[in-house]
């Protein structure tokens, strides 16, 4: 029960209070480019929830079992056993206690994301054509979306557990979805407004995002 409450408060925190888009500015590029259209915004929002929910826990597994200092210890026993069998002293005395591969974190995270996005794309193309049609064109874009890599790096920096990383990944995606759909709706309303020439497009969008972000700031009073 305690754990459930902890997860719910983590989800509320990452959806509203520390919204990945409006408080940490991650994923702005796709946010600005796609929020012209409500339907497309829904599509990319769903794709972000989906991909974030998978990549953050996956990167947690990679980080914890391969990259951290001493993370490879689980590999010692099988290797030693293998070395004994083949009687190769170099392998039978191997020790991974001081091995620290964390400098590879960034390359591993981005490769995982790129590979996973490709894989997910092929998978849903095969098994769920209707889902593919709604997410399809947005999936390749997501590889270079900062909110995906950003969520994984935050997970690493804040030292989440596996359960927390699942909740954090999915709910930061939900936060992105809410913000982008909200923005698309506002921009739709704005289509016939008379805006000064230089402010059209990007300029007014930035100012509106500022106002939206100010509205989200009001959640910061919530005590969790």
């Amino acid at each position: 029960m305690e754990l459930l409450i902890h997860y719910i408060s983590l989800a509320t925190k990452s959806i509203f209070i520390e919204n990945i888009l409006l408080a940490y500015f991650l994923g702005m590029c796709s946010f600005l480019a796609i929020s012209k259209n409500v339907e497309a915004s829904k599509g990319i929002g769903k794709a972000v929830i989906f991909v974030n929910g998978i990549t953050v826990p996956l990167n947690w597994v990679i980080k914890t079992f391969l990259l951290d200092e001493g993370a490879l210890v689980w590999l010692e026993k099988p290797l030693q056993w293998f070395g004994m069998k083949l009687s190769i002293p170099m392998i039978s005395q191997i020790s991974f206690l001081n091995v620290n591969l964390s400098f590879l974190t960034l390359i591993c995270f981005i490769s995982t994301i790129a590979a996973l996005v490709q894989f997910v794309e092929m998978f849903i193309d095969k098994f769920s054509p209707s889902l593919y049609n709604s997410l399809g064109i947005f999936l390749p874009l997501i590889t270079v979306n900062c909110s995906i890599l950003g969520a994984s790096i935050f997970m690493d920096e804040r030292g989440y557990t596996f359960g927390e990383s699942v909740v954090f990944g999915a709910s930061s995606g939900v936060g992105f979805y809410l913000a982008i759909v909200c923005m698309a709706a506002i921009r739709f309303k704005l289509r016939y407004s008379n805006i000064p020439d230089g402010l059209k497009g990007l300029g007014i969008t930035m100012i509106l995002t500022g106002l939206l972000s100010m509205a989200y700031l009001s959640f910061s009073g919530i005590q969790l």
Partner: protein, 197 residues
């Protein structure tokens, strides 16, 4: 395009942030203080210049079907390099910039220039294009940071300019960044008379 134009164009007319709408994420996040913005400019200019150079040298050997992943590997190697250098020599700033140095990997400027320019042009032009885009990005970053630091903390490069009671807390928070950048985009587009349809 002449050599000079390759370098000058992204600085003003074709600025990556205000015109091409690339790399907005970090432009907003690291502009609380001018000092951070300068370090970020340095880091990004290094990464975009080097990645443009390397991608351009390798452009004839990269198969187009896997070019994105090859570019990503080149870029993330460079970013890891600069991240570790900053951690070693400028630890405090590297802590303040936290994830945003690492996020240069997915910065659209770097990917965009590598894919759109360096894949088609010779190393020398690509190097200049990278340098121009890095500095064009940096100039906007420093302008935004200048306003946010002066209005938010009343200081410039940590030297007090305005009295403390004038500090505007909103400028330090996220909305300040969005609104200041919006106004700068307005100014730049009015000056270069560019209208988005």
């Amino acid at each position: 395009m002449t050599t000079k134009k390759t370098f000058i164009d992204p600085l003003i007319d074709n600025n990556p942030i205000t015109r091409q709408v690339l790399g907005i994420c970090s432009a907003l996040a690291v502009t609380v203080k001018v000092e951070q913005a300068i370090v970020m400019t340095f880091a990004l200019t290094f990464v975009v210049t080097m990645s443009n150079l390397i991608v351009s040298i390798l452009r004839k050997y990269i198969p187009s079907s896997i070019r994105i992943i090859v570019q990503l590997i080149i870029i993330s190697t460079l970013v890891t390099l600069i991240d570790k250098i900053l951690e070693a020599y400028m630890y405090d700033i590297s802590k303040e910039l936290s994830v945003f140095i690492a996020l240069i990997v997915t910065n659209c400027i770097v990917m965009g220039r590598a894919d759109a320019f360096a894949m088609q042009n010779n190393p020398k032009a690509s190097l200049l294009d990278g340098l121009g885009n890095g500095l064009g990005y940096g100039s906007i970053l420093i302008i935004v940071a200048f306003f946010r630091e002066i209005l938010g903390f009343g200081t410039f490069l940590n030297i007090r300019i305005l009295p403390e009671f004038l500090n505007n807390g909103l400028m330090i928070l996220a909305p300040g960044a969005f609104i200041i950048l919006g106004l700068i985009i307005w100014a730049q587009r009015t000056l270069t008379s560019f209208v988005e349809d």
